[in-house]
């Protein structure tokens, strides 16, 4: 072979390796989607009332196309599935997607492998808003959305404050993390003061609210969170290519034509609104947003265009699994899912860190 031919075959080989690598990454997402759908069915089937796996899909199918399956059947199983389990599991799915994707984005944007979706004080501010409503009965909205509205508005307020304050210092990751931390302590202190003066039943309710729980889910709440998460997810995936380049550092990214500050603030706002929306309905569900991105990175690497959606799907799988355990392990007692995610996540996470020599990255 001549030199040119050798070069050509090497070049072909290189491209082949790269394209195979790219295909593998996409395959991971393609495989995750049926897993999630299967898991929904399984999770609905598990619970204190016995329902078979096939009944679940029959019930779902009957609702979607009533004419084909001989009309809607309002049986016992049907009510449990539609009124209780399915909204709960779908809320878990949405929360998992939002937390997983937001976590992946936050870690890159804040240049910190420990970052999670609550980094900008979202959870403590939401907890403060909720306590305000539960203990003192003070809120912006009246009626059923008193607590939820308060939690949502205060978490937005907290993030807006952080962006405004750190924006004056060029919106650097360090200034965002530090102001976030400061506000976290501030809102925690405020919550403590309110709870100190509240009566014990209300304080108990307020504390329970902050532990993440999917039990409050119903279809009307899903109708609010689903579009929120969907739009947020699309926007984050749209920016994910730029995030890849921001991973190499701000000045590198700028020299490659990326509007670093603009992208940082834009993605932070999207994450905040999405996560604040979820937190207001479920309370703080920890660990999903931290673990899922690292899990996915260990499998497919750091390409954010795949990582952001994949980490959302893995977050959904983890959260729905954790909730299924929470519902069944002490049946008929249902544990809040927020307490189970850490039980599930911590051993998994520590195992992966120990197994991998090169650290988190």
């Amino acid at each position: 072979m001549s030199n040119v031919e050798v070069l050509n075959t090497r070049s072909l080989h290189l491209k082949e390796v790269y394209n195979k690598h790219r295909f593998k990454k996409r395959l991971f997402v393609i495989i995750l989607i049926p897993i999630v759908i299967l898991l929904i069915g399984l999770a609905v089937a598990f619970g204190s009332a016995d329902i078979s796996f096939t009944d679940v899909y029959k019930a779902i199918f009957r609702r979607i196309v009533p004419s084909l399956a001989g009309g809607a059947d309002a049986g016992h199983a049907d009510i449990i599935i539609w009124k209780l389990r399915l909204p709960r599991i779908l809320m878990g799915l949405l929360a998992g997607v939002a937390l997983g994707s937001a976590g992946a984005v936050m870690q890159v944007v804040l240049r910190n492998p420990l970052a999670d979706p609550y980094m900008l004080g979202i959870s403590s501010a939401a907890g403060f808003g909720a306590s305000l409503a539960i203990v003192l009965g003070v809120g912006v909205f009246a009626g059923p959305y008193l607590i939820i509205g308060n939690a949502f508005l205060f978490s937005l307020l907290s993030s807006a404050l952080i962006l405004a304050l750190s924006g004056r210092r060029g919106a650097s990751p360090e200034s965002m993390i530090l102001t976030g931390l400061a506000l976290l302590f501030f809102f925690q202190a405020m919550t403590t003061i309110i709870q100190y003066f509240g009566d014990s039943e209300a304080v108990k309710a307020a504390v329970f609210w902050t532990v993440g729980d999917l039990g409050k889910a119903d279809w009307s709440k899903l109708a609010i969170t689903a579009p929120l998460v969907f739009v947020g997810e699309v926007l984050l995936i749209w920016k994910s290519g730029d995030l890849n380049i921001m991973n190499t550092g701000d000045s590198s990214a700028k020299s490659l034509g990326i509007n670093v500050q603009g992208t940082r603030i834009f993605t932070m706002i999207v994450c905040t609104i999405m996560v604040a929306g979820i937190v207001s309905f479920t309370g703080t569900i920890g660990f999903i947003g931290l673990v899922s991105p690292h899990l996915v990175r260990m499998i497919i690497g750091t390409d954010n265009r795949i990582l952001v959606p994949a980490s959302g799907l893995v977050g959904a799988v983890l959260l729905v699994l954790a909730d299924t355990i929470a519902r069944t392990i002490l049946s008929p007692v249902i544990l809040p899912v927020g307490s189970v995610t850490a039980f599930l996540g911590v051993p998994l996470f520590v195992y992966l860190i120990m197994k991998r020599k090169g650290g988190l990255a």
Partner: protein, 268 residues
């Protein structure tokens, strides 16, 4: 592409870094910017790259004011090689070099981009490392990857900020040879900040010596690297020899007391 830097002023709060720097660069020319720490070398490169905005003065690319160009337009003209670049979550070498194609595509790369990157990887002899993690490479390999990434931008000007400072002598020569070869094969201009005066004298077509934010001397190595200039600018007495047609600078000792900037500032 012709590059012209006109009367550039830049100051940090409380300190003037550039006090009216003017220089020009044509195609297939290597300009080395030398000078002591704090003389404004890196700031000058960052102003040309548009990472920092001068207080006054202009940078012109073929007569077009750089301030009027968008970040993406500048990224298509200039390939910037930082001193070092660490990635928080390590991408593969192939993906890192592919980032250089970003100014040319919007969301996803085409087969043509894959072709360009794999050609550059071969040229830079990085093809065996293509699927390795960038963070696991040695300093010299990382530097080559960063140069490859800048080449993937298909720039007309290559800006390098101390490309050899982290490298051993063999890799220093390797990087300089690569740059020298590229200038002629790709008809691009190179502007390089460098501390090593001997490498500068060997590879530069022109040397620009900065001192206190001003161009102290500019021209060939013979014109600029004189014993008098080095004593004035660095405060170091040096022996300068001509060896095989290249100047080599051997620092002998610091000129005592007088030029110590701390003492100078204190009015001693």
């Amino acid at each position: 592409m012709k590059v012209a830097v006109e009367e550039l002023f830049y100051s940090y709060p409380g300190k003037d870094v550039l006090k009216g720097v003017t220089l020009g660069l044509v195609e297939t020319e290597i300009i080395c910017i030398v000078g002591p720490n704090g003389s404004g070398k890196s700031t000058l490169v960052k102003c040309v790259e548009g990472l920092q905005h001068p207080r006054s003065g202009r940078v012109l690319f073929d007569g077009v004011d750089a301030a009027k160009l968008s970040r993406v337009e500048i990224a298509r003209l200039i390939g910037y090689v930082p001193q070092s670049s660490s990635q928080l979550f390590s991408a593969s070498v192939f993906d890192t070099v592919m980032m250089g194609r970003k100014p040319h595509y919007s969301w996803r790369c085409s087969d043509e981009d894959v072709d360009i990157v794999s050609d550059i990887l071969q040229m830079m002899e990085l093809d065996d490392l293509a699927m390795d993690d960038y963070n696991n490479l040695s300093g010299g390999q990382q530097q080559r990857v960063l140069i490859a990434r800048a080449l993937a931008q298909e720039p007309q000007l290559l800006l390098l900020d101390e490309p050899t400072s982290a490298l051993d002598i063999s890799h220093q020569l390797e990087v300089m040879e690569i740059v020298h070869e590229l200038v002629h094969s790709r008809k691009i201009g190179v502007m390089m900040v460098i501390h090593d005066l001997n490498l500068a004298s060997r590879y530069a077509d022109r040397i620009v010596m900065l001192h206190n934010g001003l161009v102290y001397a500019a021209g060939t190595a013979e014109d600029t690297l004189t014993e008098a200039n080095i004593e004035e600018v660095y405060g170091v007495e040096a022996d300068i020899h001509c060896h095989n047609g290249t100047l080599s600078v051997i620092p002998v000792r610091r000129v005592s007391g007088m030029r110590n900037p701390v003492l100078q500032a204190a009015g001693v």
